[in-house]
């Protein structure tokens, strides 16, 4: 009876890269096969709870390294299963489902793109174009800091709202450029008012270069205004079958 950490699922017989470093004390990562699918598993630290920075990074690194070579279905962090249960309860009853999900992801990887405003450029634009904001800002500047609290909150609120209105148009431009190169797109709510795009793109491996080039084009078009950050190729975290 020993617990297994399950990183994700691959097709049975898939080539597993050498040197994967797991989060368990042995660091080993192996597979347990059943029929057409296999679970990528490792041991689990027995003396501490899971969830450290290193655990998260190990989870991601194992999956991204796999994804560089083969289709992988990532498990949500953290998945720990009794060893016997990996076949009896996880792979066995779900072989068909996992196999078809893997077939769907075959030859595809995820890229995650974040685009953020060059803050000063956009703030300046907002202040210059909105007289209410301009007036409020003037007022705030004349007042001592402790007296201007509510005005500053209001000012910030107006700026955030203006930024959010503005970013929709720009986000649409980015998506229009990149969506045609992706099989699927998962667009997330921006995590901050100056974030314009936070999205995952499922991309065919043989279109990776094209996707990359298109992202560069977007970066060039919006240079000085948007800062783009591209992560990938990654395991398809955002494209695992829905719950």
């Amino acid at each position: 009876m020993s617990p297994r950490y399950v990183y994700g699922l691959v097709a049975a017989g898939a080539a597993i890269p050498e040197g994967l470093a797991g989060l368990g004390p042995s660091g080993q990562v192996t597979t347990i096969e059943h029929g057409r699918v296999a679970a990528v598993v490792g041991d689990v630290p027995a003396d501490r709870p899971l969830g450290t920075r290193d655990d998260l990074i190990a989870h991601e690194t194992v999956l991204d390294t796999l994804a560089a070579k083969t289709a992988v279905l990532p498990m949500r962090f953290p998945a720990v299963v009794e060893e016997q249960g990996v076949v009896d309860e996880l792979l066995g009853p779900n072989e068909e489902f996992f196999a078809s999900a893997l077939a769907d992801l075959e030859g595809r990887v995820q890229f995650t793109l974040r685009a953020r405003y060059e803050q000063d450029v956009v703030l300046r634009e907002i202040v210059e174009n909105d007289s209410e904001i301009r007036d409020l800002q003037e007022r705030v500047r004349e007042m001592p800091e402790d007296a201007s609290y509510y005005d500053r909150v209001r000012l910030g609120e107006l700026i955030v709202a203006a930024m959010e209105r503005r970013r929709e148009g720009e986000a649409a431009q980015v998506f229009a450029k990149l969506e045609p190169l992706a099989v699927r797109v998962a667009a997330h709510q921006p995590t901050s008012p100056d974030e314009v795009v936070n999205a995952a793109f499922l991309v065919e491996r043989d279109r990776m270069a094209a996707f990359d080039a298109a992202t560069e084009d977007v970066g060039r078009e919006h240079a000085g205004r948007l800062r783009l950050r591209l992560l990938g190729p990654l395991a398809p975290y955002d494209f695992a079958p829905a719950e």
């Binding site: 709870p49 953290p78 299963v81 703030l123 591209l230 695992a240």
Partner: protein, 152 residues
């Protein structure tokens, strides 16, 4: 601020966040993502202790508003009449003034929080009764542009 500082590969207009390593990236990428096994099957999940990772992303709060108000005030748009600066100087000044640190803001805050949790470890999980589930879900703020086809 400039394109040049973000040159890291590719054609130079896009920053590449290559391999894993940044906690902020990892948290954003993997938490709440991927296949949830206990939804599909009653797997014998082992009673492993899990640290509570609360990476809540606050989209708009008073702190956010104050942060943007402050960033706006630092722009010094109306300095002209009061012996103000030219635009290039302004841009430089603002950059030196730490606009970068400020603008990273919200996600940083979330990551700080994660680090707090991770470093405070044992004390942090005593608040949970059931103790051994996946990290607390973030509020569902992301909308999937496209749900996967297998809604079983």
């Amino acid at each position: 601020m400039t394109v040049a500082t973000q040159r890291q590969g590719g054609g130079g207009y896009v920053e590449r966040g290559g391999g894993s390593g940044s906690l902020a990236d990892v948290v954003e990428l993997i938490l709440d993502k991927g296949l949830v096994i206990d939804v599909f099957v009653r797997v014998s999940l082992v009673g492993i202790e899990i640290l509570t990772i609360d990476a809540r992303i606050v989209v708009a709060s008073v702190d956010t508003f104050l942060r943007f108000a402050e960033a706006t005030n630092r722009l010094d748009l109306y300095g002209k009449g009061k012996g103000g600066k030219d635009l290039p100087e302004l841009v430089e000044g603002v950059t030196e003034g730490g606009a970068k640190g400020k603008s990273a803001g919200v996600l940083d805050a979330a990551v700080d929080k994660v680090e707090d949790v991770l470093t405070s470890r044992r004390s942090s999980r005593s608040s949970r009764d059931d103790g051994e589930e996946a990290p607390r879900r973030r509020p569902r703020q992301r909308a999937r542009a496209e749900r996967s086809e297998s809604d079983e």
